[in-house]
């Protein structure tokens, strides 16, 4: 069985909001749209978004780290929002595990939003129906697009490739490998919702440069010494030249 999902690398995300705007741009024009913007140029703008990027500061000054945290529907494998829906408008697709809302059936009772611990669902104030991330279901199967473009809009937009997209039930997919090998984790595992989307943790990135990497100790001919570059023990160009 397929379970499509996003894997978001918090180590790479720079919080540029490109995924937020590209998501809104694609989806407001797509089958989920329009996504209302209320009072967009006023003092208190609000509107429907499927994806938000929040920022957290971890640690105590001065040793703090800034973590940008993109947040959208996690397409849970056991979604608590689906069984509570009285009309069947909320459903999880068997074929690919995407959790969707049928906007023609939704009565806007907001019960599913109460049942989602992640706050992933938003009531559209114009259409008065519940909306949420569709994993760009109107895009990823669109055969009129080039194969490389059949990915969620946010994934295409991310300038740092912090967002991976794929089938987490396929052990050889890029997302499964990332979860397995880079410590991928779900949000709020305590509720047993089994979110399909995973996050990759922040990592300490240190480069240890071994001497033999500079000296090329494995080179028996010491060819390096004949390069214009002076030997390590000799004065550098800066030491002997006045420019």
């Amino acid at each position: 069985m397929t379970q499509l999902a996003l894997v978001i690398d918090l180590n790479v995300c720079v919080g540029c909001q490109a995924c937020v705007t590209s998501c809104k741009e694609w989806n407001t024009a797509g089958s989920a749209g329009p996504m209302v913007d209320q009072n967009p140029y006023g003092a208190d703008p609000t509107g429907t978004f499927f994806n938000r990027v929040q920022t957290f500061e971890v640690g105590e000054f001065p040793s703090t780290e800034t973590v940008h945290f993109p947040k959208s529907c996690l397409h849970c494998e056991d979604p608590p929002c689906v069984p509570v829906c009285p009309t069947g408008a909320s459903y999880k697709r068997k074929e690919d595990g995407i959790v969707l809302v049928d906007y023609d059936k939704c009565i806007g009772c907001k019960y599913c939003s109460w049942a989602c611990p992640y706050g992933a669902r938003e009531l559209d104030e114009q259409q008065k129906v519940m909306k949420k991330c569709t994993l760009c279901v109107d895009r990823i199967y669109d055969t009129s697009m080039a194969e490389a473009d059949r990915k969620p809009s946010c994934v295409k937009a991310c300038p740092t490739s912090a967002r991976l997209f794929g089938d987490i039930h396929d052990p050889d997919s890029a997302v499964s490998i990332a979860i397995r090998e880079s410590g991928g984790y779900p949000l709020m595992p305590e509720w047993g919702t089994h979110p399909a989307n995973h996050y990759l943790p922040r990592r300490k990135t240190r480069i240890k440069i071994h001497e033999d990497e500079l000296e090329r100790a494995d080179n028996p001919l010491k060819v390096d010494r004949q390069l214009p570059k002076p030997a390590m023990s000799e004065p550098t160009l800066d030491d002997v030249t006045t420019w």
Partner: protein
């Protein structure tokens, strides 16, 4: 959670109506076994059922204000296999229908003997409808309460006490209303109904106190650490992803200072329990005004109780909106 007045009115109005119907049929059952004098069935049961029906219709109308798309409300009966809300949508009209037929049978004095119990007691349509209505009244209490109690991460609600509170508080207000109504139409039943109203109010005090005690001591299961998956104890939110509000900041926060929350809590504790209890116990047969005041005070208290019920529930999604939380 942000308390929605549509839902506050829905749950309190139908709760009182269910309690009133249960009170009517309790009185009828006692009278059938000759434990109570037979009241004027036409006035007491007939008009009493009509009163219950008015409350149920008012509750149903209030519920429509909660919907973004009320014209599609009929669709909400489809998912009864999984959704308590859908079950409520089915049971509520069914209960309304039974209350209507029960009232109509009494109103028309339609009492043909359908069968006879082994003890020789005749069973007429009102008894059959009364039993069906009683089952549906309890089913409706359970459905309404389970809408909230089934949400496991809203831990203030996820408890059998929620179901007990809905049954007992709805029952208390309904029996108080029945006592007030009986003082106008069937004075011989007032002390019986007022007595039961006092007993159910006391039981409600026990279960509501238990849930207040429990909720005050809940330890949150989710923390900011599990919400974003970073284990460091010091995490401060710097941005929420937007500068104005969103659905997330409007729907899940009551937006009131702690003092208001505390004030509402003490108001409902006083208005739902001791004040109606005193009025009920001091009421004599012709003290209609006292019993009506008892119901009005208790109902106002229940509005506050329901407001507090919603406001107290702390949704885990609020962890992502620390500036408001």
């Amino acid at each position: 959670m942000h308390p929605a007045f549509s839902v506050i009115f829905l749950t309190t109005l139908i709760g009182a109506a269910q309690g009133l119907f249960l009170a009517l049929f309790t009185a009828q059952s006692y009278a059938a076994f000759k434990l109570l004098p037979q009241p004027d069935a036409h006035a007491f049961y007939g008009q009493g059922s009509f009163l219950a029906l008015v409350l149920l219709v008012a509750g149903l109308v209030a519920s429509f204000f909660h919907l973004g798309r009320p014209e599609r409300a009929w669709r909400s009966a489809t998912m009864w296999r999984t959704s308590w809300l859908s079950r409520e949508v089915i049971v509520l009209p069914a209960f309304m229908g039974i209350v209507f037929l029960y009232g109509l049978a009494h109103w028309l004095d339609w009492h043909p003997v359908l069968m006879t119990l082994p003890s020789g007691m005749p069973v007429d349509p009102t008894a059959m409808l009364g039993v069906a209505g009683t089952l549906l009244a309890f089913a409706l209490f359970v459905c309404t309460a389970m809408i909230y109690a089934c949400l496991k991460f809203l831990r203030e609600w996820h408890s059998p006490l929620t179901v007990a509170n809905y049954i007992l508080l709805g029952g208390a207000s309904g029996f108080t209303l029945a006592a007030a109504f009986a003082s106008m139409t069937a004075p011989e039943l007032v002390s019986f109904l007022a007595g039961w109203a006092a007993i159910i109010t006391l039981l409600g005090l026990v279960s509501r106190s238990a849930s207040l005690y429990r909720n005050a001591r809940l330890k949150p299961k989710s923390t900011l650490q599990t919400a974003i998956g970073i284990k460091h104890p010091m995490i401060v939110q710097k941005t929420q992803g937007f500068m104005g509000g969103s659905f997330n900041t409007r729907e899940f926060f009551h937006g009131q200072p702690v003092a208001v929350l505390r004030g509402v809590k003490w108001f409902f504790i006083v208005a739902v329990f001791p004040v109606p209890l005193l009025l009920l116990l001091s009421a004599v047969q012709d003290s209609t005004a006292m019993l009506v005041v008892a119901f009005i005070v208790q109902y106002a208290g229940l509005l506050a109780e329901r407001w507090f019920f919603f406001a107290q529930a702390n949704h885990p999604q609020n962890l992502y909106y620390q500036a408001i939380a």
